[in-house]
């Protein structure tokens, strides 16, 4: 990889300052960033490690909201987010055990890989992405492939998940990367049902609103029977055609609804 200056701030304030410099890039778990840099596809002047910031780590629950520090690893979420079992289960399915010991929720959301697991949970839960500058609603946060509402130098500090009544995530894995070929997170809360799909669309994670309406009326797999998903706009690649992914969206959503019970 290209050389860069490595910076490891001890506080969020220091991190914000370091991120304010030209060519600075935040490093969290590094599970995607470092392989990308090995390919020399990315050339930051400095990498600002967020791994030393205790204030960005940890899982807590208060008033029906689960808050996860941005630098909390997937393994920690899997272990400690018991108050939101579907989310804990999702975290336990990301990558593999070693990836889960390094990769973080903040890193995953900042990257917004179209096949990553977390974006579906954030979007389906109607979670709030908290940064050093503001709070961003999930519906405003995701803006297409690898694109988010984050401004230059902005750092995610936490994610706040309202805990739904029922929820489940089901992932149908791409066999090589083990990312989601299609993953669906279904959440049923006081405000209704939200269904978020990852891995399938060329625009990244999205809400399947027809399914949400059908499931709000009847939260059962059979409620989706009459729906179809358009292949248009779905990803077509080595691992599946757009038609196949469109088909999977429905199959996996049904399974997620069944799993949510």
């Amino acid at each position: 990889m290209y050389d860069f200056e490595f910076v490891k701030p001890a506080s969020l304030a220091e991190a914000v300052a370091a991120m304010g410099r030209d060519g600075a890039q935040a490093l969290s778990g590094g599970m995607t960033l470092l392989p990308t840099m090995k390919q020399r596809l990315n050339q930051p002047d400095s990498l600002v490690s967020l791994n030393g910031l205790a204030e960005l780590k940890g899982v807590s629950v208060a008033g029906g909201v689960l808050t996860i520090g941005a630098a909390t690893t997937h393994a920690t979420v899997a272990r400690e987010a018991g108050a939101y079992p579907a989310l804990a289960a999702l975290a336990g399915q990301i990558g593999d055990p070693m990836v889960r010991n390094r990769g973080t929720i903040g890193g995953s959301l900042a990257n917004n890989d179209p096949a990553a697991c977390y974006p579906s949970a954030v979007l389906a839960s109607g979670a709030t992405v908290v940064t050093n500058q503001r709070e961003i609603a999930a519906d405003d946060y995701f803006q297409g492939l690898f694109s988010t509402a984050l401004e230059e130098g902005e750092i995610i500090t936490a994610v706040k998940f309202p805990i739904p009544d029922k929820a489940a995530y089901v992932k149908f894995a791409q066999p090589a990367s083990r990312f989601a070929l299609t993953g669906v997170f279904v959440a049923k809360g006081p405000a209704g049902v939200r269904v978020a799909v990852t891995g399938a669309s060329e625009d990244g994670v999205f809400r399947w609103t027809e399914a949400e309406e059908a499931l709000s009326a009847n939260f059962a797999p059979s409620a989706l029977d009459g729906l179809t998903v358009e292949a248009d706009g779905m990803i077509g690649d080595l691992h599946g055609t757009p038609e196949y992914r469109a088909h999977l969206v429905k199959v996996i959503t049904k399974r997620a609804v069944a799993a949510a019970g």
Binding site: D3, Q39, R40, A176, L238, G240, Y244, H247, V251
Partner: protein
């Protein structure tokens, strides 16, 4: 019951201790004083003409020692192909030059254009980015059919076309086979693809070149399955360094599966550059680089047809195959779709007439060469898929159709219509055993149980044969091989009785250090711990052809037996002298020489000491010392065979296939270490299951590799496979090598792909999807789902 440590014992591997404690010594672990690092600038386009190459700015960058381009290699030979195939018209194949660095043209993504040698790897990479390459991109040929079109762009302008050869086998049978098809009561045909694969041993390739001006000696440390072959090819054909000035060392090697047989440009480069710069030069492949430089495997497109009479006897078989060679001829590439494939098309069956046609095609892709099984998996896949289809088409049991057409146990030795003579086998027995191991009688109950869970369960069966123990040199010489395929061993007995064995075979996972010691220990009757196996260094091992084609024990082990027998014969003479008895009366048992019918004896160490301290020794008639070398050239191939059964469950909603059980009943002849043999089968099965369900090397129409990393090339993982049930009790020993062994390294990868696909088709038919007659590999969820819903 074999005694611990001898032939037949599941002796634990001695090499494991170093690997388990981090003390293995792989090529990348070698760092020499003053070592420089090489970074290859590679083509990003599949086909192009290099109009200009400006290295001036790069050469001035920090740490850069020198930049090499194709011009530096203008006077140097190309990488040679080791097998000249003669086409059906009697003409030699078209054989293009394969330069070490591109000579004005690039022919696949990854083709090396220039190399930066610098003090550090990152400096070399930085400088490589500063090289200005002006490439005129040319239309690429990727699809084999398109490559054979009359107006197709040519990969090599100096050839008449992209056709390497049009091979017919047995050409004289062509018309008779056609006649048999005209007379057939039934004809079954199948079009299929044998998917392109990447071998992906877990250790990427590495080369470290070194040069010692004091004695004008070049040394190459390399990740090779056959250091002597590399020395011969690189020394004699590429760099012009005589063997006695060239040492090739392959230390611990992290798997090969064929991909480390071949002589690669990076090996020649590092050796050349170290000589030019008088400093060691190291290159370590990244995995991404491996995907675009290691020779790929398989990539056949085939139409196969079977003729049957009214009683369902096979009367003739005909195949037409397009075989991808990639952009250049890799070391053994030309032999794979021909002699390693056509000669196995009889399978286990007594089909009297066979005609195989293979057109080998140049394309703008990475060269394709041998990968675990090499030609034999392609043969087995076609044949066993076709027989399954035939059984369905004729409405008969696929097991019975196979049994009916098997070469029967009393027909051995059996001359096939495709040149080879099978020495032994008992296919009815392996089939019987397989059905038992697979619990075939319980199948229907399992299918019914799966149905309750919403899964489609099915069973696929195959029987395979392979030709291993490669190979009789005089035969392969007639067929176009440019090398002999014997093997060698030197057995050096030390004064106190310990033994150092120097073998031309190379272990990169096969466990030779353990098994070869078992053989010697058993023959002499000493503890295996007294025997050390040395391999991998041309400086101290006799010329050997290395390890591939399941040949190490069958050929290398036979050389070892020959050399050990010479040792025993001489030791008996020494013992006879010491015991003042006739040599004919000396018996060797449990490491002790005794005179028959007496209590006079001398132990092994007593004899070996006498050989090296020859105070009481028949010096007038015998040399002192106890060291012997033997070369063994096999008189025939060996023919392992076996029956495999795979059980799958298909999720009808997603098309996802799960292998729920896999059973194998193999006939490997005699077995030295059952534990290691089973391990070889397990590994082969996983690779075959990987080919059948997961692995796919795919180019787009412009020649860009779409599956260029583990993110898109699906390697089998622990949760993709089940525990395997493996049996090797049905043994018919090989009749023509001293150990009676047949080889076991490739069987799993040969037999499993058709077993898996047959099982998927069976599951779909049982589930009512009877219109599905074939799905090409990898049988991915998307493909299964599409097949289910496409009539």
């Amino acid at each position: 019951m074999p005694k611990d440590g001898g032939i037949g014992a599941s002796t634990k591997r001695r090499e494991d201790v170093r690997f388990l404690t981090g003390n293995g010594r792989y090529t990348d672990d070698i760092n020499l004083r003053g070592q420089l690092h090489a970074h290859f600038l590679r083509s990003e386009v599949a086909h192009g003409r290099i109009r200009g190459l400006d290295t001036a700015a790069a050469a001035a960058m920090p740490g850069v020692v020198r930049i090499f381009t194709g011009a530096d290699f203008a006077a140097i030979g190309g990488l040679p192909c080791g097998w000249q195939v003669t086409d059906r018209f009697g003409q030699p194949m078209q054989e293009p030059k394969h330069p070490v660095l591109a000579d004005g043209k690039v022919r696949h993504v990854g083709d090396p254009i220039a190399v930066v040698v610098a003090e550090t790897l990152e400096q070399a990479r930085d400088a490589a980015e500063a090289i200005v390459v002006d490439i005129e991109e040319l239309p690429a040929v990727i699809d084999m059919k398109a490559a054979l079109a009359p107006d197709a762009p040519k990969v090599h302008e100096d050839l008449t076309s992209n056709l390497c050869y049009d091979w017919g086998f047995v050409e004289e049978n062509r018309e008779a086979v056609a006649e048999a098809f005209r007379k057939a009561d039934h004809v079954v045909s199948l079009d299929l693809v044998n998917n392109r694969l990447v071998a992906n041993p877990m250790e990427p390739r590495v080369a470290v070149g070194d040069y010692d001006p004091w004695n004008d000696m070049s040394t190459l440390y390399t990740t090779s399955q056959n250091p002597h072959v590399i020395r011969l090819l690189m020394g004699a054909f590429v760099l012009g360094i005589p063997e006695h000035r060239l040492r090739v060392v392959a230390p611990d090697v992290g798997g090969g599966f064929g991909s480390k047989i071949f002589h690669y440009a990076e090996e020649a480069f590092c050796t050349f550059a170290a000589r030019a710069l008088k400093r060691p030069v190291k290159w370590t492949s990244t995995r991404s680089e491996a995907f675009i430089t290691d020779a790929h495997g398989r990539d056949h497109v085939t139409r196969i047809e079977l003729a049957l009479d009214k009683d369902h006897n096979f009367t003739a078989l005909r195949t037409e195959t397009l075989a991808n060679m990639g952009a250049y001829l890799s070391t053994f590439s030309s032999s794979v779709p021909t002699w390693l494939h056509g000669t196995l098309m009889a399978g286990n069956y007594s089909t009297p007439l066979i005609y195989v046609n293979v057109k080998a095609v140049f394309t703008n892709t990475v060269p394709v060469d041998a990968y675990r099984g090499a030609g034999r998996p392609e043969a087995t896949f076609q044949l066993e898929r076709l027989i399954d289809k035939a059984a369905r088409q004729l409405g008969v049991d696929p097991i019975e159709l196979r049994r009916k057409n098997f070469i029967q146990p009393d027909q051995f030795p059996y001359q096939t219509p495709v040149a080879v003579v099978y020495d032994t086998g008992n296919y009815q027995a392996t089939m019987d055993k397989l059905l038992q191991v697979a619990d075939y009688s319980g199948l229907e109950a399992r299918v019914a149980e799966a149905k309750k869970r919403g899964k489609l369960r099915g069973f696929g069966i195959i029987h395979y044969i392979e030709a291993c123990g490669i190979a009789p040199s005089n035969l392969v010489g007639q067929l176009g091989a440019r090398a002999g395929l014997y093997e060698s061993a030197t057995v050096r007995v030390n004064a106190t009785g310990s033994i150092s064995v120097f073998t031309g075979s190379h272990s990169h996972g096969q466990g030779h250090e353990t098994t070869f010691a078992q053989v010697v220990a058993e023959m002499i009757g000493i503890d295996a711990g007294q025997v050390e196996i040395v391999h991998g260094d041309t400086q101290n091992t006799p010329m050997g052809m290395g390890t591939y084609g399941s040949r190490s024990l069958a050929v290398g082990g036979s050389a070892l037996v020959k050399a050990t027998n010479k040792i025993i014969n001489k030791a008996k003479k020494i013992a006879a002298h010491l015991l003042e008895a006739s040599e004919d009366d000396i018996e060797l048992k449990d490491g002790k020489f005794s005179v028959a019918g007496t209590d006079k004896s001398v132990d092994w160490a007593g004899v070996t000491l006498a050989a090296y301290v020859p105070h009481n020794y028949p010096l007038e008639s015998m040399e002192p010392g106890l060291e012997e070398t033997a070369f063994y050239d096999p008189s025939n191939f060996t023919y392992p065979s076996g029956a495999y059964g795979c059980e799958v469950e298909v999720d009808p909603d997603t098309g996802k296939v799960e292998v729920v059980s896999f059973a194998a009943a193999d006939d490997f002849g005699n077995i030295v270490n059952p534990m290691i043999v089973e391990g070889q089968v397990h590994g082969g099965l996983a690779q075959g299951i990987g080919q059948a369900l997961l692995e796919n090397c795919v180019y787009d129409e412009n020649g860009q590799l779409l599956s260029g990393s583990f993110m898109d090339y699906a390697m089998p993982r622990a949760d993709d496979v089940p525990f395997y049930r493996v049996d090797h009790s049905c043994n018919t020993p090989c009749t023509h090598n001293p150990l009676g062994v047949k080889g076991c390294g490739e069987a799993g990868a040969i037999g499993s792909p058709p077993a898996v696909v047959n099982a998927v088709i069976d599951a779909l038919h049982r589930g009512g999807y009877t219109h599905v007659s074939h799905i090409d590999m990898p049988v991915s969820p998307a493909r299964v789902w599409a097949a289910m819903h496409t009539k």
